[in-house]
Symmetry: C2
Subunit: 239 residues, 2 copies
């Protein structure tokens, strides 16, 4: 499948952790044993272990071994790029998406600043609401550089926009910056969401960058207060 040895070792170990072959609080085979099990070098085995540790599945302890962490019921979004649709679907909620606007436009000053573009360039504007259990909970406002995304359709907006970008267009997203604040509701929120009289709204601003470090998307995701939830898993900073 992959030509990456360390990746396939990682995936094999991960599967065995998830199906309880290796149980929480127990130890993985030692690095020496892993080199024999997978017929590889120690550094390669270590690379797989490093990945497991980074993603929060194990904890390496010097002199002892690699301990499997209790990966709770709560699956933390290690990738900050997981769509909200997926998050809610994972907990078994029915999610429907409604596209309110899809247009190619000249961005206003604020969006120009967020996307770091000159006034000449055009930008896709995509406005969507997410309905969960019959209530319109989330308002997503996406802005994508036309330069990077030549075409965009309503059908794509109704499904996964990332699947389209990465699958069809072959764009490689490399990292994203998120900023979470709480703001007063705007006219648009009131019109498009079921706010139940709430006066504030959680705003998640998302800046998405490609592998060449250029920004190509700015998203503002606005959530009703009582339905918002964000989980973050932070390993100790590697100083």
């Amino acid at each position: 499948m992959q030509n990456n040895k360390f990746l396939s070792i990682y995936q094999d170990l991960l599967e065995k952790i998830q199906n309880n072959t290796y149980r929480p609080k127990s130890k993985l085979p030692s690095e020496h044993e892993l080199t024999e099990l997978y017929d590889t070098s120690r550094e390669t085995a270590r690379k797989a272990l490093h990945l497991l540790a980074q993603n929060g599945y194990i904890q390496k302890v010097r002199g002892k071994g690699s301990i499997v962490l209790p990966l709770d019921k709560l699956n933390f979004p290690v990738s900050g790029l997981v769509s909200f649709k997926e998050v809610f679907q994972k907990v078994g909620k029915k999610v429907t998406t409604q596209v309110h606007e899809l247009s190619l436009c000249q961005p206003d000053e604020e969006i120009q600043h967020h996307l770091n573009v000159k006034s000449g360039e055009k930008v896709w504007k995509l406005i969507r609401t997410r309905e969960i259990d019959g209530e319109r909970i989330i308002l997503d406002k996406d802005y994508l550089l036309q330069e990077k995304v030549p075409t965009l359709t309503k059908e794509v907006g109704e499904n996964s926009i990332y699947e389209y970008l990465e699958g069809e267009l072959g764009l490689s997203i490399s990292f994203a910056k998120k900023e979470i604040t709480v703001e007063e509701v705007e006219q648009e929120d009131v019109e498009l969401l079921d706010l139940e009289g709430q006066t504030h709204i959680v705003v998640v601003k998302n800046y998405v960058y490609l592998e060449d470090t250029s920004i190509f998307q700015y998203t503002e995701s606005r959530h009703r207060l009582d339905k918002f939830r964000f989980v973050d898993f932070a390993r100790r900073a590697h100083l």
Copy 2:
């Protein structure tokens, strides 16, 4: 200082990025050049680069090189363990801390569940408010296992609790799980904070684990809506 070669290379490169010796959008020396510059092996130089990439300072691109990222004015809290005091101090705000309660108690059922302890064990309870620019903005409720933290004083609570734990007690914090939600205000919030009539509050639940993977602290940090801000920097999941 350190016996770690890759760490000192990392620190040297980081310093040169921060003082603009290596400028945003420009390229770092190639891995081959770095091995000569620092008289080291390529894998060791790569380790330093890997650290820089992980912490969001550079972006490695195959076939091209390591590009320095524009590290914005916004320094993202790569470590999820940075205290709020530090965050606000960094932007030049005066922060004062007031300790309202410090006691050793039998935790109620909810806290028992969060800390995963039996009903016999005792827990430190520390209630603090943070005052910024003359307003009481944040309510911090800390619960620490007495087993891990035998003594705790009011003075520690008024300063950095982490400095005490890591410095004085030698506890090694390894990772933390954060959960952000918005809840309705409680009686305690109204009494201890300047809420200005707000009905909701941002709640950050923080579960802190030691290197041996045992949990030892649960913190609930309650923020006034209009003063809350959380920044997250997510690299693409390494799958």
